[in-house]
């Protein structure tokens, strides 16, 4: 049976949740302890207990029918003693968000309604004022004079709202679940499903890297973290990239923003274009979208946001249109990146190369002051069950692709050595592409008519996304070694496609350790800070 209440002249429909209860404690201090205890006792990851002030939202099958039994199962007896009452939980039909009914109603009286008139209206419904609003003198929290079932609060609020000669509005003062709010003002963020997949177009809600929740913890990461995009150049003048392009603090150094190993100079911008101008194999159009996925400027009211939208981009050009390059130059581009960057993103593959193998060893040993750079490499798009080189290097982080339905993208190479996957396109199953920056020159790029494309993809896109998540983790904990960062990225990945993946001991040949989860990775990195500092204190 739906429950209805009125808000702002709209009827809001709620359904009583059978599997959720609200738990009110005597003191606010009990709530976080209860949340921790309940999380350990009975919660699933998706519906973990949440707490606010004196209220905990608890999810458990059949909880509404066996409220106190659920509480006793979830909490140790010392916390059960602190429970004042349990309360019903409703689900809002439109948003699917949960709300906990309390005994409180918010009411705002119309202007010029006297206090006597206010009290008379409340008394007619057996309501009392509990407290006035700090910011509006006509607004109060009111409560029933007697102990009532919270489901009745909706009817009481509706009755109060109907006194429209004195009442401007009245609505239950729910404790409400909210969507994460750490979004940015980039107008095309809503199209960037890989960051925040809201479903639609056949996509499945939540099949993303949980970027918004990660940004709650570190909004776009730190400008102290540098991500090298080693590719066919980066359009460093792109309006959505330029403020995040690394600038050499040494004014006398020739590499102002990066380096060009292809032409042996210091201009890392795309340079070579041949018709057809939207084909990767003839044009320098690949590095710019990669850079955007990793670290396009965010919260700038423009275009898109990179996952690490406050980190810096080091532009390193190694290819010129045709992606043919000497082995030593490719290897040296990695070594150069290791001097300037914390994270290295390689959205390409090649034949096995001794010098490149050595270079990855070099930067994971000497980069970041000996903590080692994180080197992310694409597994390749050849529909193969082997991971391409250099992704299969034991010190590289091999990135495959998953689609907007949480399945492996058909083309994504997999097999031994795959570290994890990250969201990207999947044209074989008509799944969505990735929206990112594109070279801004007219008639050049994947989208010949603009500075953005919605058609990027492949493990080429998954790799800078993974690199950006690595950048976020290092942003909150720059002390991590490359192995620690790798381990936490793997440990916090989501085990997607549980039926098809065949995870064994947490590892799948098709998904590696799963799909990267930026929020959990950052949270884990922060936890590592706490542990490190505790150890340091003990050591002292």
């Amino acid at each position: 049976m739906p429950y209805i209440y009125s808000a702002d002249r709209q009827k809001i429909e709620l359904t009583l949740s059978a599997n959720d209860i609200g738990v009110r404690f005597e003191s606010p201090e009990a709530t976080p302890r209860a949340v921790r205890a309940a999380r350990a006792a009975l919660a699933t990851e998706e519906m973990a207990p949440r707490g606010y002030d004196r209220v905990m939202l608890l999810h458990h099958p059949g909880a509404s029918r066996t409220a106190f039994a659920t509480v006793r199962e979830a909490l140790p007896s010392r916390l059960v003693r602190e429970v004042r009452r349990t309360m019903p939980v409703f689900t809002e039909t439109g948003s699917r968000l949960r709300v906990v009914a309390t005994r409180e109603i918010t009411v705002r009286f119309k202007p010029k309604v006297t206090e006597r008139q206010q009290n008379k209206a409340l008394a007619a419904l057996n309501l009392n004022k509990q407290r006035a609003n700090d910011f509006n003198r006509r607004q109060y929290i009111v409560v029933p004079q007697s102990d009532i079932d919270e489901t009745v609060i909706l009817d009481l609020a509706n009755s109060l709202a109907e006194l429209d000669d004195v009442v401007e509005y009245a609505a239950p003062n729910f404790v409400s679940e909210h969507l994460k709010s750490a979004t940015t003002n980039d107008p095309r963020l809503r199209e960037q499903w890989h960051l925040n997949n809201r479903g639609g177009s056949g996509a499945l809600n939540g099949e993303d890297v949980d970027a918004l929740a990660a940004w709650d913890l570190t909004p776009g990461g730190s400008p102290n973290i540098v991500i090298a995009i080693v590719d066919d150049g980066v359009d460093i003048g792109h309006p959505d990239l330029k403020s995040n392009i690394w600038v050499n603090p040494d004014l006398n150094a020739p590499d102002r923003n990066g380096r060009n190993f292809y032409d042996n100079n210091f201009d890392p911008r795309p340079r070579y274009f041949n018709p057809p101008y939207d084909e990767t194999q003839f044009n320098d159009i690949h590095g710019t979208p990669c850079a955007g996925v990793a670290a396009a400027t965010g919260d700038n009211r423009l275009g898109v946001a990179g996952i690490a939208y406050r980190c810096k981009i080091l532009a390193v050009k190694i290819f010129g249109a045709d992606a043919i390059a000497p082995n030593d130059q490719v290897a040296n581009s990695i070594r150069y990146s290791g001097l300037r960057a914390d994270v290295i993103s390689c959205s390409w593959s090649g034949a096995w190369n001794t010098d490149l193998e050595a270079a990855i060893n070099d930067v994971t040993q000497t980069g970041r002051g000996g903590k080692g750079c994180l080197v992310f490499c694409a597994t390749g798009n050849e529909y193969r069950s082997t991971v391409a080189f250099p992704a299969r290097h034991p010190r590289a982080l091999a990135v495959g692709a998953s689609n907007d339905q949480g399945k492996r993208s058909a083309y994504s190479n997999y097999g031994q050595g795959l570290s994890f996957v990250a969201p990207s396109n999947d044209p074989d199953r008509s799944r969505q592409g990735i929206v990112t920056t594109d070279v801004k020159q007219r008639n050049r790029g994947y989208n010949l008519n603009g500075s953005y494309t919605n058609d990027f993809g492949g493990t080429s896109s998954a790799t800078p996304l993974a690199a950006g998540i690595g950048g976020l983790a290092l942003s909150v904990n720059p002390a991590l070694t490359w192995q620690q960062a790798r381990d936490l990225l793997q440990a916090t990945a989501d085990k997607i496609d549980a039926q098809g993946a065949n995870y064994q001991n947490g590892y799948s040949l098709k998904y590696g350790y799963g799909r990267l989860n930026a929020h959990r990775a950052v949270a884990q990195a922060q936890t590592t800070i706490v542990r490190s500092s505790r150890k340091a204190k003990k050591a002292k």
């Binding site: 043919i324 040296n332 090649g350």
Partner: protein, 183 residues
């Protein structure tokens, strides 16, 4: 880089790298040629008689794909003559990595990392012993050098790289291929 013909010889060729043997395949009908700058036009003209010629300008390379009606021996004879005249520095068949199916252009360059930074005397001894010339020191790794196999033709570079790789004072040596990559 699109080969008109991608015929592969049945017998794979290889070079040694540490404990392993690296196998590559030869695309006999696709050849790479490094020209000298002054002879660029003449070399291009000569090669055009044998098939489609493509330039990789930043490497001073032509890649020639033999036309169907051309004999390989005729091309090789012409290349030897150009080598003797000093118009080209080396020529070699384009190779293919069987694992990735990507092409690798063999050049006269070998990438050598010594176990310790070598002295000038040490380098000269290496040059003399293996018939190579030290071309440049790696910018980032002082113990690493590019050495050249002079007057290189065919698969000489692979053989010399294998010999260097087996030396006690050398950490690794490998042909400095110009490699095709996938983006």
């Amino acid at each position: 880089m699109e080969a008109k013909k991608t015929e592969t010889r049945a017998d794979s060729i290889s070079y040694r790298r540490g404990e392993k043997t690296v196998f590559v395949e030869s695309l006999d009908d696709v050849w790479s040629v490094r020209y000298t700058e002054s002879a660029k036009a003449a070399v291009h003209s000569a090669l055009s008689a044998f098939g489609r010629v493509r330039e990789i300008a930043n490497q001073r390379l032509f890649v020639v794909e033999l036309a169907d009606d051309v004999r390989r021996d005729d091309l090789l004879q012409s290349l030897r003559q150009l080598l003797n005249e000093g118009a080209v520095e080396f020529f070699a068949p384009v190779l293919r990595d069987p694992a990735s199916d990507l092409r690798q252009i063999l050049t006269d360059e070998i990438n050598v990392r010594f176990k310790e930074v070598p002295s000038d005397k040490h380098l000269k001894a290496v040059e003399k012993k293996y018939g190579v010339r030290v071309a440049r020191q790696n910018e980032f790794v002082p113990s690493q050098f590019i050495v050249k196999a002079p007057q290189s033709k065919g698969l000489d570079t692979l053989e010399i790289a294998s010999q260097l790789d087996a030396a006690d004072d050398i950490e690794f040596a490998a042909p400095n291929f110009i490699s095709e990559h996938r983006r």
